[in-house]
């Protein structure tokens, strides 16, 4: 009992120098007023009138601001902050659920209809496999070329620079879908016929190696001159200096932009849909026509999310681990 008392006292004391609107009593009053406003003014559930919708939005934003006022205070317990942010988010979806006027029973039947999915899962697995193959082949080749070109650009050879600069300019400017369509549908007129999969790989590699050339070049050039001097003064040649001194340091700098690029690459494999590569989106689309329900498309969205969000977090972890060099 005394524990709770002292805890409460402690909180009050900690908040003593806070402005009035960040003190617990005023927050409590605000919260009560806000809930009272909901009871009094919010329209009944279902599709509201425009005025009613405006009221709901205004009410939600008021709560949002209230929560914001509370969260920006550094001294409030982290648990309270977490709970508040979570409530605000949950509230958003709940309001949407109640006031959008959507027939939710129909939504489930349409978008999450798993009863007619027999045969679709196998199709799906094939699609996912192709997407993964496309991603990995294109990513590996892009990194190999991007790294090589990036290193070559730091040598300052004007001829190499001209060619690589052109490559970078062109394929950063050209929309992926355009180069992919050109490679698949226009090159055959010149007698160059590529299977759809490899046409997609080529287009992806051309574009992403262009981006990565610049990423690696910037990473390498950001290594201080003194590092190179020190390596050369030890007697390391240019290759060894690159390998043991520059690249390990550049690698760390390059991880955030490189991750961004690789995530885009995986997402961009969906563009291969337009040249009939049987990747995830293509098979999902086929399943939609076959089963006459959009469920497979909705599912494909979750597959993309489930693949890419962990990838992003994984690289963030790696980044933090490499940060260990910078401990003081």
């Amino acid at each position: 009992m005394t524990d709770i008392r002292t805890t409460i006292d402690d909180w009050r004391n900690r908040g003593a120098h806070q402005p009035w609107f960040r003190r617990y009593e005023w927050l409590a009053i605000g919260l009560v007023g806000w809930i009272a406003a909901a009871v009094l003014f919010l329209p009944p559930f279902g599709k509201p009138t425009p005025l009613g919708a405006a009221g709901v939005i205004l009410w939600y934003l008021t709560g949002f601001v209230l929560a914001g006022v509370m969260l920006t205070d550094r001294e409030k317990p982290i648990l309270l902050k977490r709970a508040t942010s979570l409530s605000v988010i949950v509230l958003f979806f709940w309001l949407f659920y109640r006031y959008s006027g959507t027939r939710w029973d129909r939504v489930q039947e349409q978008f999450f209809n798993f009863s007619r999915m027999d045969g679709v899962w196998e199709l799906y697995a094939q699609g996912l496999l192709v997407t993964l193959q496309l991603s990995i082949v294109a990513a590996v080749l892009s990194i190999i070329f991007g790294l090589t070109f990036g290193i070559l650009r730091t040598l300052g050879n004007p001829v190499i620079d001209l060619f690589l600069g052109l490559h970078v300019d062109i394929f950063r400017a050209l929309p992926l879908i355009v180069s992919m369509v050109l490679i698949f549908y226009a090159l055959p007129f010149l007698g160059i016929r590529l299977p759809a999969f490899w046409a997609a790989v080529l287009a992806l590699v051309l574009m992403n190696s262009a981006y990565q050339t610049e990423i690696f070049r910037a990473g390498i050039e950001s290594i201080p001159r003194g590092q190179i001097d020190a390596a050369r003064a030890l007697g390391l040649g240019p290759g060894a200096t690159m390998r043991f001194v520059i690249l390990p340091q550049a690698f760390k700098i390059v991880i955030p932009p490189l991750t961004n690029n690789l995530v885009s690459l995986v997402k961009d494999t969906a563009v291969a849909y337009v040249i009939t590569v049987p990747e995830l989106l293509t098979t999902a689309q086929q399943a939609v026509t076959w089963k006459r329900t959009p469920t497979p498309l909705v599912l494909s969205m979750f597959v993309y999310l489930a693949t890419l969000i962990p990838l992003i977090h994984l690289t963030r972890r790696l980044e933090r681990r490499l940060d260990a060099w910078n401990v003081r």
């Binding site: 001097d229 390596a231 060894a240 043991f244 760390k252 401990v327």
Partner: protein, 251 residues
């Protein structure tokens, strides 16, 4: 201070008429210098006078535009020379330490032994640990450079050069980036090296240290040698007006 008596032997380092241009600017205007085996030569001069550039020409981190550098009588400034071999034999210590931040202290010191001297890893690490012991850092081998103080980092840099068993070590303002209380620990290590007979070329304005450790003092101005001679003589009875001015300014 080591004796410079071995007259019949070739000088350790000899520079003949070194010129250096950066684009249009003529930074070194014909510098000669002779540094005997075991001698400590000091370079002085105001900022921008070309001290660093000259020092960097001695191991061809910078290519001289004209003139020759000889190490033990062998010209190293021609196309046939394997610069990496030359550099492996001449240590260099920089103002900003330039340690490799992604390696531990031991790895920093062992790197050259492993990939330049081609020593087996375990042997290289032993040698590296010995070098670190010589500069008083035996307890810090597993740390990363960022975890050390400036003075400790500079001593690691000295150990990195020492581990290669160099014929000479070049120091470019090794204490200029240090907080005052760390200057002495670095100078102390350098003085011990000098006493042990290491050939050194030092860019430094630490008069007290130079008086004790340097045999020869070379005063540069605008890319030219304006005065040179035994340290005490140049410091106490400078002949050239430019030297007198400079010494007044740094005191």
């Amino acid at each position: 201070m080591s004796a410079v008596s071995d007259t019949k032997a070739e000088p350790m380092i000899e520079a003949r008429g070194i010129h250096k241009y950066f684009g249009g600017s003529h930074v070194l205007r014909g510098i000669d210098a002779t540094i005997a085996r075991g001698e400590v030569a000091a370079l002085m001069g105001s900022s921008g006078s070309g001290k660093s550039t000259f020092l960097r020409c001695l191991n061809r981190i910078e290519e001289p535009s004209q003139g020759d550098v000889l190490i033990e009588g062998t010209v190293i400034t021609d196309l046939r020379t394997d610069v990496n071999r030359v550099r492996a034999d001449i240590g260099m210590v920089f103002q900003e330490y330039n340690l490799f931040p992604h390696m531990t202290v031991l790895e920093n010191v062992a790197l050259g032994l492993i990939y330049v001297r081609r020593r087996p890893r375990s042997e290289a690490q032993e040698t590296a640990a010995d070098a670190l012991k010589r500069v008083g850092l035996a307890d810090h081998v597993t740390k990363h450079p960022q975890q050390l103080s400036g003075g400790q980092q500079q001593r690691v840099a000295i150990a990195r050069s020492l581990a290669m068993r160099p014929k000479a070590i070049l120091f470019d303002e090794p204490t200029s980036a240090l907080d005052p209380e760390m200057v002495n620990e670095v100078l102390e290590v350098m003085r011990t090296l000098a006493e042990e007979g290491m050939t050194m070329v030092v860019v430094s304005h630490e008069i007290g240290f130079l008086r004790k450790a340097a045999d020869q003092l070379i005063m540069l101005d605008a890319g030219q040698v304006v005065e040179r001679g035994p340290t005490a003589r140049v410091l106490d009875e400078p002949e050239h007006e430019r030297t007198r001015e400079f010494l007044r300014a740094i005191r």
